[in-house]
Structures are given as structure tokens and as C-alpha cells.
């Protein structure tokens, strides 16, 4: 029986055993697809993912970059490639890997979800187990990339966070990183721990730590559709206060929060959703504690309809949900935001019906919604 490592715990288990799959963990499927776990809550028997690298033996697209990984020519999924070509690719994917397309029974009209049936998991990579392993390597045997990670993690541990609550993910975890090129992607297990760590980073410095300059945020702003949504000065000002992204020894680092099972802001299956079409609103942020995870959310009050489907005009929106990490921690309580996305009626198993706006379902990347869905902070 194989050993599967999830969430830092060693389990001599069958992968179908019920366990918590953390967002930002990595799994490979039996067909060789490299997937990023794309949520902290999952339907029974499946793991919601974003396919990251897909072998090219069944489907391929010249509009996506190619990578040579694990001895295979792979396409790297880029949601920001040409929309029409992405649609063709997704259609091909659905034909070649139909079992990885998940039709959600809790949505009246299912958005596009990718999900890996647990029995199709070839290997699950645990960020926390990976970092613990990495930190156990003698420094003399580390390359520059690993040394930088070990030093950065040691610095973060000074905040009081425990090593078991930190992880490392993406190329470092999977072993195909390039020193001096690959980012350092740190995972923090637990939302409160993440917020505490952000406070630590705000108040403490390190000789090898620096934050992005105005120019670097400006370059970031110019990419994707950010410049189409945000006013530059406000955007950069808001980005400056984020302490989840910077440079350590000139390696770009990004810190992600993931939710422990007992702190998830929603539980898969305890609510159902009715699609009310697309609309744009503005409102005031009441809470942003859940804005550090994927999917994340802002609690909203005083929401006002701006434009969109007329049927949404009278709806009182109380949550803004997003799947893109671009929108993590961009707004704080009492700040006003404008948001545009799919309006959903939420019917909880217990409690009252409410309305939310969702930004960044996968199908949004296939049409004009890609550029029209957003959250932005408004000038006071």
C-alpha cells in the first residue's frame, strides 16, 4: 500500500479515505496531470482542482506554453490566454478527460469545476510535509533556492508560528524549480495564524527581506486585466499594505493562507446556489477575515446595484466571493468596493437565504466575463 501524505500527517491510507485536502497542495493524477488543489472544501469523493500541467499525448494547444516536466511534454494551463482558444482547449479537455469535469449538484446551473476523483490520484504532495523535509536537510547540502527558503522560513518562525503550520508548494514542492528563477510559495495553515503572520511582517524587518517597489507593483498592475479594472494609484497603494508578497534574498515570495477543516467559511453541501445572472454592485466591507483564502470572501453591507441584469436590482448582496488570489486582502472593513460577477441566491440547509456575487469561476475565463468580473476598492 502506498503512503499518502496530506496536511502534514502521515497516513497509511487508501486515497479514498475521507480527509481534508488543503488548497494549494499539489496532486498528480494517474494520467500524469499535475493539479493544484483549488479550494479547502470538496464534494464527496472528489478534489476540486485547477489542472496546472497537462500531458500533450491526448490534447494540446499551441496557444498555451509548453513545458518539459516529468519526462513529458506538457501544456501549462494559462487562464489568460486567448479566450476562444482556451474554450477550444477546455472543450477538448472535457472530451479527453471527461471524468475530471464536475457538474455540481448544489448549483442549479453548475459552473465549470475541475475535480479529480480520489481513486485517480497518483500522488498527493503535502506542502507542510515538504517544508518539514526541506528544513531537515543540512544547509551544506542545499542549493541557493533551498537555502533562501530555509532562511525565510526560519525568519517566519520568529513570529511564533510553528513549523507544522507552514508549507512550501508549487515547483519547489514538486522538485522542478530553478534556483534564481522560481518563486518561493509559502503556505500558512490556518487563517488566524496567517493574519498574525501578516502583522509580524508589518512590524519586523530582515536584512534579506524587501517589499515590492512602486515600479514593481506598477509592472504587476499592467499584467492581465488589472489595468482595465483598477485605478493605478489606488491599486498600488492597496498593494503596498499587503505583506503576503515581497522578496527574500531577491527571490519573489508569496504567502498563501489555507483553511483548516474546522475553520472553513462554508462547508460543501450545506448550501445550494441559484444563478441570478450577472450584475455589478458597490458596497461596504464589513469583514475581510476570509479574504485570505481561495475561494475567499468579503462580507458586505449597504450593497447598491450599479448595472447588469435587471432581476438583480433589488437584491441585497451580503457576500462577495472570489476564486482569484488577485483579490485576497485588497479591502478592509469600512472600505467601499465595487464588484461585478455572477449573482447567486444562497439557500443554506439551516438559516436564511441570502445573495452573493461570485468572481472567477472557471467558465468566466471563456467569455467577456473574464474582463468584466472584478473587485476594486473605491476612493473614499
Amino acid at each position: 500500500m502506498l503512503i499518502y501524505l496530506i496536511g502534514g500527517k502521515r497516513n497509511l491510507l487508501n486515497p479514498t479515505f475521507k480527509m481534508h485536502y488543503y488548497e494549494s497542495s499539489m496532486i498528480t493524477t494517474k494520467e500524469g496531470i499535475h493539479c493544484q488543489v483549488y479550494g479547502n472544501q470538496h464534494p464527496d469523493g472528489k478534489i476540486l482542482v485547477k489542472p496546472k500541467y497537462i500531458p500533450t499525448d491526448k490534447i494540446s494547444s499551441d496557444s498555451l506554453p509548453y513545458r518539459f516536466i516529468s519526462g513529458r511534454k506538457m501544456n501549462r494551463l494559462n487562464l489568460w490566454t486567448d479566450k476562444d482558444k482556451l474554450k477550444i482547449y477546455f472543450d477538448d479537455f472535457a472530451k479527453a478527460y471527461s471524468k475530471y469535469i464536475f457538474k455540481s449538484p448544489i448549483h442549479d446551473t453548475s459552473p465549470l469545476f475541475f475535480a479529480v476523483p480520489k481513486e485517480d490520484i497518483e500522488r498527493a504532495y503535502s506542502p507542510s510535509e515538504g517544508l518539514a523535509e526541506l528544513m531537515s536537510i543540512p544547509t551544506k547540502d542545499m542549493d541557493e533556492h533551498l537555502k533562501a527558503i530555509a532562511e525565510f522560513a526560519s525568519f517566519l518562525l520568529k513570529s511564533g508560528i510553528k513549523l507544522k503550520d507552514l508549507g512550501i508548494t508549487y515547483s519547489t514542492l514538486m522538485g522542478h524549480y530553478s534556483p534564481n528563477m522560481s518563486d518561493i510559495n509559502i503556505v500558512v495553515y490556518g487563517k488566524k495564524k496567517f493574519w498574525d503572520l501578516m502583522e509580524f511582517l508589518e512590524k519586523n524587518s530582515h536584512k534579506d527581506l524587501r517589499w515590492k517597489t512602486y515600479g514593481e507593483w506598477e509592472d504587476f498592475y499592467k499584467k492581465r486585466n488589472r489595468h482595465m479594472i483598477h485605478k493605478k494609484e489606488i491599486y498600488i497603494e492597496n498593494m503596498y499594505r499587503k505583506k503576503s508578497e515581497g522578496f527574500f534574498k531577491e527571490n519573489l515570495f508569496v504567502i498563501f493562507a489555507v483553511e483548516n477543516d474546522d475553520e472553513a467559511w462554508f462547508k460543501w453541501g450545506e448550501e445550494s446556489y441559484r444563478n441570478m445572472r450577472v450584475a455589478k454592485f458597490k458596497g461596504k466591507v464589513m469583514g475581510n477575515k476570509n479574504s485570505v483564502v481561495r475561494p475567499g470572501c468579503y462580507e458586505i453591507t449597504d450593497a447598491k446595484f450599479i448595472s447588469g441584469d435587471e432581476s438583480c436590482k433589488v437584491l441585497s448582496i451580503s457576500k462577495v466571493v472570489f476564486y482569484s488570489r488577485d483579490y485576497c486582502m485588497i479591502a478592509y472593513p469600512n472600505e467601499k468596493i465595487e464588484f461585478s460577477g455572477v449573482v447567486e441566491e444562497v439557500i443554506p440547509q439551516i438559516g436564511e437565504t441570502y445573495y452573493r456575487v461570485v468572481i472567477g469561476y472557471f467558465d468566466a475565463y471563456l467569455d467577456k466575463r473574464r474582463d468584466e468580473e472584478y473587485i476594486k476598492v473605491l476612493e473614499d
Binding site: 499551441d62 518539459f68 519526462g71 511534454k73 547540502d141 542545499m142 542549493d143 530553478s178
Partner: protein, 365 residues
């Protein structure tokens, strides 16, 4: 008897990463050298650690200090007896992976074919260099379908500027075709170590193998080999492997009796199989020049072969040259044909015995 290409990477269900170490194998097993072993499996004191695919791994190194290696092999044998094969026909032991323990075999040939499909615009600097190297090598006349990649290049955990480019050549004729081509071929990215660089290398990398050579002898032996060079500043290495129908021996067709450590001399009559692992030199006029006191040798039986498992001794001598070799002396009894003696250099047990310091193959260059 089973054919399984030498130099192929094998992952085991216990988390080991191994490299096949022969082209012929006992039924039910693949002879391997363990490359990486999970840290929690064994204590790796004296060996290096690597972070590979989420795990801290111990890099198994036969050239680690002998006392550390002895301890490590002892632990290994006790903890993973299934991975040790006590061979009834050689009376020696091998690291093996039982077939039932194989998780994945990484196919170097298939890996290269996949790699060649990746558009050049999507290659990083390391893979761009690899692409150029392959283009250069196929000018020898060897088809890219008879080449493969291995190690970190194949698995994708290479480091540009640091990792070697390790190429497999499938087929002995193809191996010689490329090695001969490289004697004269030019490329702006290609560089062979000069005599001065080999001399510096000799001084900086003292090993048990090189200790049997003066600096001048070492330079002369290494300077004419073409299995390792520099391409665009990156080291490349060429490993020739035998196809299923061209192995120079078949497992189980001969039996071997070890007779002790012996030094012999002889004249090379054929070096055709000297570029594979294990490889050998066919010799004539073989004579024993030194031996352990208890080694019983029948002078009427000819010494016909010098066999090497050790890469530093491949392509060490050519037809017509006189060679001296020290290693384990074996009486070979074929199922059909006459008995003969051979000397074997580089069995696994040599690395943890006093043969480690004694074994060598040298030509009278």
C-alpha cells in the same frame, strides 16, 4: 535471464530512486545502484542530502568514506533485504529491485522523444542547450530514436548551469558511431578538456581509481575518451546501453567462482564491448603478475577477459594495447564451451572491501 536497459531510472514502491546497473539481470530482479533513498529509511551520515519531489533524500554514493559506506550498506541489508540479491552464480551480491517493488520505470528514449516535441520557444536555457547537443549528436548518423535522456534532465529536477546532461545511446554500434564521430567533429559549444585541464582535474579529484596513475598516465587515458565533455559550459556524459539482442553475456549462461584479488597483464584483442556497463576487454597472452597468497590458479586455463562495472574504466584501452588490471579473479564455467579466467573491476562489494583501493585497469599508453 532478463533484458532491462542499463542506466534506466526505476522508482520503487518504498520511495527509492534507483538506476539500472546492467543490461542483463536475474529473472525477477533488476540490478541497480540506489541513487536516492528517503532519509527516514536509513541514517545517511557521511552522505549528502537532496530535496527531491517533496522528500529529503539521501544521495547514495559508492565513493563515500569507506567506513560510512560499510555502515550504510549494513543498515540497508538489514532493513531492506528484498533489495539485496545474493547471487548463486557469481557468489557475490548485488543491489536489486525485485519486479514486485517497481513503481515506475522512467523511459529515457520516450522522454527524449517527448522533449523533442516541445517548441524551442518554450525551452529554458538548459533545455535549449540539450536541444542543440542532440542536434549535434545526430549528425553522427545515429537517429534521435536511438538516444535517450536520464537523471534530472528526464525527471525535470535539473538545475540550469549545474546539472549535467546525461545522454543514453541505445545500441553498441550506435555508441561507437557517436564516439568515433566525436573524435573529429567540431561545434562552437563543444569543448573537450585539454591535457592541462585533465592534469588539474587529476590533482583536484584524487580517487581510489586515479591513485594507480601518474598524472601523465591519467591525462593520456582520459584525453582520448569521448564519453564526457562540455557543451555550452555544461558537462555532458554519454552512456551506451545494449539492446536486447546484443548483450555480450546472458545471465545464467555461465557460472563464476571468485578466487581472490589478482593483478594480470594481457594484450587487448577486442575492445568492442568496453563502452557499456558491465563492459569488457577481450585479451590474449594473459598472465598473473600479482595475487593474494591463497588464490589458486590453474596455468592451463587462459585469462580471457577484463570486465568493468566502473565507469572510469570504460573505453580505457584499445585493441592491440597491453593492459594491466587488478580486480576480483573469477573462474568462468560456461554452460557450453571451455573454462577461462576473467578479472572483474567494480562489483558492489569492492567498494566496501580492500579491493576498493586496489582495483584498476590501465593501458600501456
Amino acid at each position: 535471464m532478463v533484458h532491462f536497459y542499463e542506466s534506466e531510472l526505476v522508482d520503487t514502491i518504498d520511495g527509492f530512486q534507483c538506476k539500472s546497473y546492467s543490461n542483463q539481470h536475474p529473472t525477477g530482479y533488476v540490478i541497480v545502484k540506489p541513487k536516492y533513498i528517503p532519509k527516514e529509511a536509513l541514517k545517511g551520515e557521511g552522505l549528502k542530502y537532496r530535496f527531491l519531489f517533496e522528500k529529503c533524500m539521501v544521495r547514495f554514493n559508492l565513493f563515500a568514506k569507506k567506513d560510512k559506506l560499510i555502515n550504510y550498506v549494513k543498515q540497508f541489508r538489514e532493513k531492506f533485504p528484498d533489495y539485496i540479491y545474493d547471487c548463486p552464480i557469481t557468489k557475490n551480491w548485488y543491489f536489486v529491485v525485485p519486479e514486485s517493488k517497481i513503481k515506475t520505470v522512467h523511459d529515457g528514449r520516450k522522454g527524449l522523444q517527448e522533449f523533442l516535441k516541445v517548441p524551442k520557444r518554450d525551452l529554458d536555457e538548459y533545455l535549449t542547450l540539450l536541444s542543440e547537443l542532440i542536434e549535434f549528436l545526430i549528425k553522427s548518423g545515429v537517429d534521435d530514436k536511438n538516444l535517450g535522456i536520464m537523471h534530472s534532465t528526464l525527471l525535470g529536477n535539473y538545475t540550469p548551469g549545474t546539472s549535467d546532461m546525461d545522454i543514453i545511446i541505445y545500441g553498441k554500434d550506435n555508441g561507437w558511431k557517436i564516439l568515433d564521430y566525436l573524435k573529429t567533429a567540431k561545434h562552437k559549444q563543444l569543448h573537450w578538456k585539454t591535457d592541462k585541464e585533465w592534469a588539474e582535474y587529476y590533482q583536484e579529484h584524487k580517487t581510489s581509481e586515479s591513485s594507480h596513475f601518474t598524472e601523465e598516465e591519467y591525462v593520456r587515458h582520459m584525453g582520448r575518451k569521448r564519453y564526457e565533455g562540455m557543451f555550452g559550459g555544461t558537462v555532458f556524459t554519454l552512456f551506451t546501453v545494449e539492446g536486447p539482442n546484443e548483450t555480450w553475456f546472458e545471465w545464467g549462461e555461465e557460472k563464476y567462482d571468485p578466487l581472490g584479488t589478482v593483478t594480470i597483464k594481457g594484450k587487448v584483442t577486442d575492445h568492442y564491448n568496453s563502452h557499456v556497463r558491465p563492459g569488457y576487454y577481450e585479451i590474449t597472452d594473459g598472465e598473473v603478475v600479482d595475487k593474494e597468497d591463497n588464490a589458486q590458479i590453474d596455468p592451463s586455463i587462459p585469462i580471457k577477459r577484463v570486465v568493468t562495472y566502473s565507469i572510469p574504466f570504460v573505453q580505457q584501452a584499445l585493441k592491440g594495447e597491453e593492459i594491466t588490471a587488478c580486480g576480483l579473479f573469477e573462474l568462468v564455467t560456461p554452460k557450453s564451451g571451455e573454462k577461462y579466467y576473467r578479472v572483474v573491476v567494480g562489483y558492489f562489494d569492492a567498494y566496501i572491501s580492500d579491493r576498493r583501493e586496489k582495483e584498476f585497469i590501465k593501458s600501456n599508453l
